[in-house]
């Protein structure tokens, strides 16, 4: 039971990153390998707001996420849209965007290394224990999970019950047809890319309340998020959330029952199973 709850808390954080990434890849068609850097940037942002102005990290999301939104919008419009326009086919765009976002990833890591050094950071926020079903958990973890659920719920309502959310889903299905029904596809792509970055930043702010972070950990989170996105099916928000919880629980199980050094092996085992048996994702339909 303890494993289950800890796993769900971890999975909840993964879920927001993965949902951010699935929006960026599913809608904007950009495989953003620098997405983990949004998360690290938000960790440092929340840390700075808390230690300088004692702003509660959960409230801090309201500051960190819009900054990430603006930053990602600018990155998309200035750097990635030229690649979208230049690409002759989907494969070329994939290669180009992978390389360009690798560049962004290293530049962001370099800047953060210069700014904060290579050391590990953490801070105390709501670190008192709370008892659930007879076992103790950090209150900060439970608060983070609650906030992640609220954000994911809001996103679900936006995508499924608003006009613009429907437009974004239409672009995810087929950009060419979406253009035919008077959807501004370039703008929707930029919006989805920026929204994905903002969601990842929000999860970073939540993560920083209970996780020790440093400037170069972004890649590991990007990789896990990518695996979750594929497990859940590209562009599928619901699938990403379920895959994230599954991964969180698996990792926690392996870490507490076998060896904490083998979490990545657990992730890869899941990944290989998905690749071999359901490469279209857990909820994906078979492609003809």
């Amino acid at each position: 039971m303890e494993i289950l709850i800890t796993g769900i808390v971890l999975g909840g954080t993964y879920a927001l990153i993965a949902v951010g990434l699935t929006l960026q890849y599913g809608v904007s068609r950009i495989m953003n390998l620098a997405n983990g850097e949004n998360l690290v940037f938000a960790c440092f942002g929340a840390f700075w707001l808390w230690s300088t102005f004692t702003i509660n990290p959960v409230v801090g999301i309201a500051l960190v996420a819009p900054v990430a939104f603006a930053l990602n919008w600018v990155i998309y419009v200035w750097l990635l849209r030229p690649l979208v326009n230049r690409a002759r086919n989907r494969g070329q765009l994939e290669v180009d965007s992978i390389l360009a976002t690798f560049g962004l990833m290293f530049i962001a890591q370099g800047v953060m290394l210069l700014g904060f050094g290579g050391g590990y950071y953490n801070y105390n926020f709501l670190s008192q224990p709370i008892a659930i079903l007879g076992a103790n958990y950090g209150l900060n973890r439970i608060v983070a999970l609650g906030a992640a659920m609220v954000i994911a719920g809001a996103l679900y309502l936006f995508l499924n019950h608003t006009r613009y959310g429907t437009a974004i889903r239409a672009v995810a299905v087929d950009p060419a047809s979406a253009g035919l029904v008077a959807i501004d596809v370039p703008r929707a792509s930029a919006f989805a890319f920026a929204l994905g970055g903002a969601l990842t930043a929000a999860s970073g702010a939540l993560l920083s309340t209970f996780y020790t972070f440093n400037a170069s950990m972004g890649t590991l989170f990007t990789m896990k998020a990518l695996i979750i996105v594929i497990m859940g099916g590209v562009g599928d928000v619901r699938g990403a959330v379920i895959a994230a919880l599954l991964l969180g629980i698996t990792e926690t199980t392996v870490a507490s029952l076998i060896d904490p050094g083998l979490t990545l092996a657990a992730t890869y085992t899941l990944f290989i199973l998905v690749l071999l048996f359901r490469p279209q994702g857990i909820f994906g339909r078979h492609l003809a």
Binding site: M31, V95, A100, I107, A108, Y268, L275
Partner: protein, 330 residues
């Protein structure tokens, strides 16, 4: 079938003579300096082999492999684990086979699918193997570090790598003119066409990836004596994967020898940067990636080709102008 030598064109023979002369000249370097310049040249040859082996697979398929560090580390570990029990050449062979087998497994799992799956899988592969090796060593052996004591010094390693470079180039040339190479060119241009022409695309890709991975493993095996003390973080250093990608793409992947054009300048630049500004290495790699994508999408070789074509066009225009001028005068 004609004997192999009879099918070599005059141009190919010329390149072979030139390459052999270059190799021979490079091999004399340790006679002049065994300090800094040998060390730098060793790095350059190491990356030349790594990038050329990488290009063997990623050039025609356009799949970006980040598995280099994993194969390299496996080669290093094959030597480090067995150096007290088995002769060195046998260990190198084991390194080749072990890396090929890993490449084959990765290939079977991912190469049937689109390129993105492959990139993601290889992105974490080195880290995965590192975790498994560390776990196995802490649980089943006495410690994590291994000592590699041999009689090899940098000069020997340098010569071994030069020899390997020659083998990789010849292999690349042989593949290029084989059925496999022909199949890869078709797959690179259009995979659907290749499949309709009766090519087993997944099998061809896996075969090539195994050859490429095996060579990278051999480089790791050769480098083990240089480390002297091997532990998982140094053997499975993920930066190697990224550096290989950036150097190979900087040079260009269209021709077998094109990565050379990226390896030499980048290795020297990176050496200088890590010596004088050690905190700026990530920034340099990041900027290099951006430069390749936005300024040199087909690498230095593509740029050179463009310039040549432009010059030829310019010459034709000039000649036509000249002819037109003469007509006008008469």
């Amino acid at each position: 079938m004609k004997p192999l030598l009879a099918t070599v064109s005059r141009k190919e023979a010329g390149i072979a003579v030139l390459g052999a002369a270059g190799l021979a000249a490079a091999a004399t370097l340790p006679l002049f300096d065994t300090g800094y310049y040998l060390s730098l040249a060793l790095n350059i040859v190491m990356y030349v082999v790594l990038c050329t082996a990488w290009t063997l697979f990623s050039g025609p398929t356009h799949y970006i492999s980040l598995a280099t560090a994993a194969f390299f580390g496996i080669g290093t570990y094959s030597v480090a684990l067995g150096i007290d029990h088995l002769p060195f050449p046998l260990l190198v062979a084991i390194g080749f086979v072990a890396s090929s087998v890993l490449a084959g497994l990765v290939g079977i799992a991912t190469l049937r699918l689109s390129g993105v799956y492959f990139v993601i899988f290889t992105l974490g592969l080195a880290e995965l193997v590192r975790q498994v090796v560390t776990w196995a060593q802490t649980n089943f052996t006495h410690g994590v570090g291994l000592y590699v004591f041999t009689d090899f010094n940098e000069t020997h390693i340098y010569w071994m790598l030069l020899g390997l470079a020659a083998i990789v180039y010849v292999t690349g040339w042989l593949i290029n003119r084989s059925r496999l190479g022909f199949a890869m060119r078709i797959i690179g241009n259009d995979e659907t066409v290749a499949r309709h022409a009766g090519i087993d695309t997944a099998r061809a890709k896996v075969a090539l990836f195994m050859i490429s991975g095996g060579f990278i493993g051999v480089v790791g095996a050769f480098l083990a004596p240089r480390f002297a003390y091997v532990e998982p973080p140094s053997a499975f250093n993920p930066m190697i994967s990224f550096q290989v990608v950036i150097m190979a793409l900087l040079g260009g992947t269209g021709r077998l020898w094109a990565p050379l054009l990226g390896v030499i300048p980048f290795t020297i630049l990176f050496d200088q940067v890590s010596a004088h500004f050690p905190n700026h290495t990530s920034l340099v790699i990041g900027i290099a990636f951006m430069a390749v994508v936005y300024l040199l999408p087909r690498g230095v070789i593509g740029f050179v080709d463009d310039m040549r074509r432009l010059k030829r066009k310019f010459r034709i225009v000039l000649a036509e102008d000249g002819a037109a001028g003469k007509e006008h005068a008469s």
